[in-house]
């Protein structure tokens, strides 16, 4: 029993030491989409400045913002990465916990692509067609029914007669959220039957507009996008949904489908012509600037042309930069720690 008591005492002692532990290393949390870019920046930052290399946790956008908003102090993160804009409700939650001044930095864009093996021809799709292929319920002859389409040809005669088989991320993924928002919800209201629901039954409308098929045509392939690429290579009939950087790295194996007449190229996403793209952000807790060393220097590193510029090292990793004019203003606002207003 003495041993038990001793061990407990030791644990308690460690706990008190922990509470008083100061931090000299920036702590970043958030989106797994921004993770590959932010890690590149911290690596460069650690090598070229006197500050320690920051720590980045891949928690997902929502989880990261929740941690970020949990309060002010060394035990809370300094920066949150997000693959979507912070929500007003999250800003309120932040303020409630004392995190009132937040600087928002928009860092660039990420395209979401529908790709298939190079052994098969490129698909040319509209968002409406994608909706018909992947929605759990679709309007047929004025009624909303369980998705009856088995082959792409049934949706549109111009499409090949192949079985609909799309590999995509699970609901926990930010890529999935963005895909549902930018493709499914966007095109749902083009069908009068679904639009009518908006007025009569809001919940039902949301469900019809955002639910993906569960009958085997849409396959949840896990969070690992490399795995999706491998599966596409093995199965030329299938399409896969993933972020642009994975297409960029695997151009010899897969090609991206044309959506609304636009190929998912670097330029088309940067110009905003490719429709399925989203903005990436990071958020800085202003109260920590000056307390945790190096936060201002980190913002400078991230917003420098050599990092997020057109030929910067982030572009090489697949980040699609902001337009040059927007970049200049954004860099200035970020370095000046202009607090976010919503």
């Amino acid at each position: 029993m003495t041993r038990n008591t001793l061990a407990l005492a030791a644990m308690a002692a460690i706990a008190f030491a922990g509470a008083a532990h100061a931090r000299d290393q920036i702590h970043i949390v958030g989106s797994s989409t921004v993770f590959p870019f932010a890690t590149k920046v911290v690596e460069e930052f650690g090598k070229t400045t006197k500050y320690k290399t920051p720590v980045i946790e891949s928690t997902g956008s929502g989880g990261g913002i929740k941690l970020f908003c949990s309060g002010v102090g060394v035990n809370t993160p300094d920066i949150a990465n997000a693959s979507r804009r912070i929500k007003a409700s999250e800003v309120r939650a932040c303020a409630k916990n004392g995190v009132s001044a937040i600087t928002e930095v928009k860092i660039g864009f990420d395209g979401i692509v529908l790709a298939n093996s190079k052994k098969a021809p490129t698909y040319n799709l509209s968002r409406k067609q994608i909706f018909l292929a992947l929605a759990k319920e679709v309007p047929v002859n004025g009624k909303i029914v369980k998705n009856p389409y088995k082959s792409w040809k049934q949706i549109d005669a111009s499409l090949p007669d192949t079985k609909i088989e799309v590999l995509g991320p699970p609901p926990t993924s930010g890529t999935r959220d963005a895909f549902v928002e930018l493709v499914m919800e966007h095109s749902a209201d083009e069908f009068p039957e679904i639009k009518a629901l908006k007025a009569s039954d809001k919940n039902r409308h949301k469900q019809v507009a955002s639910a993906l098929r569960e009958d085997g045509a849409f396959i949840e392939a896990g969070e690992n996008d490399n795995l999706i690429v491998q599966k596409l290579e093995a199965n030329p009939a299938a399409l896969g949904i993933f972020g642009f950087s994975y297409l960029d790295q695997n151009k010899d194996k897969v090609h991206g489908s044309i959506v609304e007449g636009q190929s998912p190229t670097f330029e088309a996403i940067a110009d905003g012509k490719y429709p399925v793209s989203r903005s990436l952000y990071f958020y800085v807790k202003n109260a920590h600037v000056g307390k945790i060393p190096g936060i201002d220097a980190y913002i400078r590193e991230f917003t420098a042309e050599k990092a997020w510029g057109d030929t910067g090292y982030l572009a090489e990793k697949g980040l699609i930069p902001l337009p040059a004019t927007e970049r200049r203003g954004a860099a200035k606002a970020a370095q000046g720690l202009k607090p976010l207003r919503m």
Binding site: R3, A19, Q25, T39, E43, N75, K251, D252
Partner: protein, 424 residues
């Protein structure tokens, strides 16, 4: 049919059944071995190439006009200097035909971004080298590394948009001059995480794993053994101890992520310990390993024959002396085996660590159990998810290292059992 015939027939049938049963057993073992060999085989084939890397020898002029234009040798300025320009100048000296902006960028891409780090480290270690011309080996880019190892063909490199004909020509020329060569990849064992596959290493994850396991051992072993001794030797048999026993057996089968949630609630939110720290990881894994150790320790003590206890009591030993002098030493091999197997399981865990922030990008190896760290399986997980092709071999190589640690630990458990086990 006579009785004798019937017996003979039935005997034959029984023998056949016996034979079939043996075949089933052999079949099961063989299929398990085939699957294991397949798994290990693919990992070794994929991973072994990560133990070598590609280097380029360059003659570099450490131009003071670029590194230290105002000749102040200010450390911050030296850190920030544009070492890429120096690498490019060295490459351009060999290939003066590359003049245009895009051509120069392509030329620079033959070398890894790590080439700049090599030069920067050299200057920071001894600023006196500024202004000198030196021969250095710098890491080549991941694409050249893959090309040299035959993991990517030229056709793939072109269709993937990774390299072009001009870059192949430069590479071939460097190779023909003997300036590009493969070496043992020490960086893989000494570096921390990196976004560049050719610079990434497992050192910070290995140190993190070691610290985490040390905390686990220090907490779980004494607590587990003490709990087992009490429950086995001293506790009265009643409803309470029965309930504790059922609960311990139950806990041993709880999914590990539950312990992560518990750790998040207790160690981070309630006790205020820092996130991503090996201390917290170790405590969480200790909670996870505790039931395994208790169960193993109890069954090891149960296996000590009662005659030994009776003899000790008969000679006047107190209950504590019986345990400390006789039961525990005799049960120790079994306890150690159980503990090592529990620790080996803890070494392979990622799920509970996700909750407490150890799924993180860590470049610098942790210096104390309070500094942020990650562990080997998490490193494997993060690399497997990286878009760059060259991370595939790193992933497999890190798995090999993890497997090596597991084999050593399990081997140690078997050795201890063989060496100290007593039979009665």
């Amino acid at each position: 049919m006579t009785r004798a015939e019937d017996t003979a027939r039935r005997l034959k049938r029984r023998h056949r059944a016996e034979k079939r049963f043996r075949l089933y057993g052999i079949g099961a073992v063989t299929s398990a071995l085939v699957v294991l060999a397949l798994l290990l085989g693919t990992i070794i084939v994929n991973g072994s190439s990560a133990f070598t890397t590609t280097e380029m020898r360059l003659t570099v002029f450490l131009d003071p006009a670029v590194i230290d234009p105002d000749a102040k040798k200010n450390r911050d300025d030296l850190l920030q200097a544009d070492y890429g320009a120096i690498v490019l100048a060295a490459l351009q000296k060999r290939f003066p035909e590359a003049t245009g902006r895009s051509e120069r960028l392509q030329l620079l891409k033959l070398a890894s971004p790590g080439a700049r780090d090599v030069l920067r480290d050299m200057v920071m270690a001894d600023p006196a080298v500024i202004g000198k011309t030196v021969e250095v080996s710098v890491p080549a880019s991941d694409n050249i590394d893959l090309l040299r190892k035959g993991k990517m063909t030229k056709a793939q490199a072109v269709s993937g948009g990774k390299m072009n004909e001009r870059q192949f020509a430069w590479y071939d020329k460097l190779a023909a001059d003997g300036l590009v060569r493969g070496t043992f990849n020490t960086r893989f064992f000494t570096a921390g995480a990196s976004r560049e596959p050719e610079l990434a290493g497992i050192w910070s994850a290995v140190v993190g794993s070691f610290m985490t396991l040390a905390v686990t051992l220090v907490v779980a072993f004494p607590l587990g053994v003490a709990a087992a001794i009490y429950l086995q030797e001293f506790a009265p048999k009643n409803r309470w101890t029965d309930m504790i026993e059922v609960n311990i057996n139950n806990l041993a089968a709880v999914p590990s992520i539950v312990f992560g949630l518990l750790g998040l609630a207790v160690f981070l939110n309630y006790m205020g310990l820092p996130r991503s720290a090996p201390l917290v990881g170790g405590l969480v894994l200790a909670l996870m390993t505790l039931p395994t150790i208790i169960i193993a320790a109890r069954s090891a003590m149960q296996a000590v024959p009662p005659s030994i206890r009776d003899a000790a009591v008969g000679l006047g030993a107190s209950p504590l002396q019986v345990v400390a002098h006789h039961v525990l030493p005799l049960a120790m091999p079994g306890i150690l085996t159980g503990s090592i197997i529990g620790m080996a399981r803890a070494l392979g865990e990622t799920a509970p660590l996700l909750m407490i922030g150890m799924v993180a990008f860590i470049v610098d190896a942790p210096t104390s159990p309070m500094s942020p760290a990650t562990v080997l399986p998490v490193q494997v997980y993060l690399w497997a998810d990286s878009p760059e092709r060259a991370f595939a071999e790193k992933t497999a190589a890190a798995v090999l290292v993890l497997l090596a640690f597991l084999i050593v630990m399990n081997g140690l458990a078997i050795y201890l059992r063989r060496k100290f086990e007593r039979r009665w």
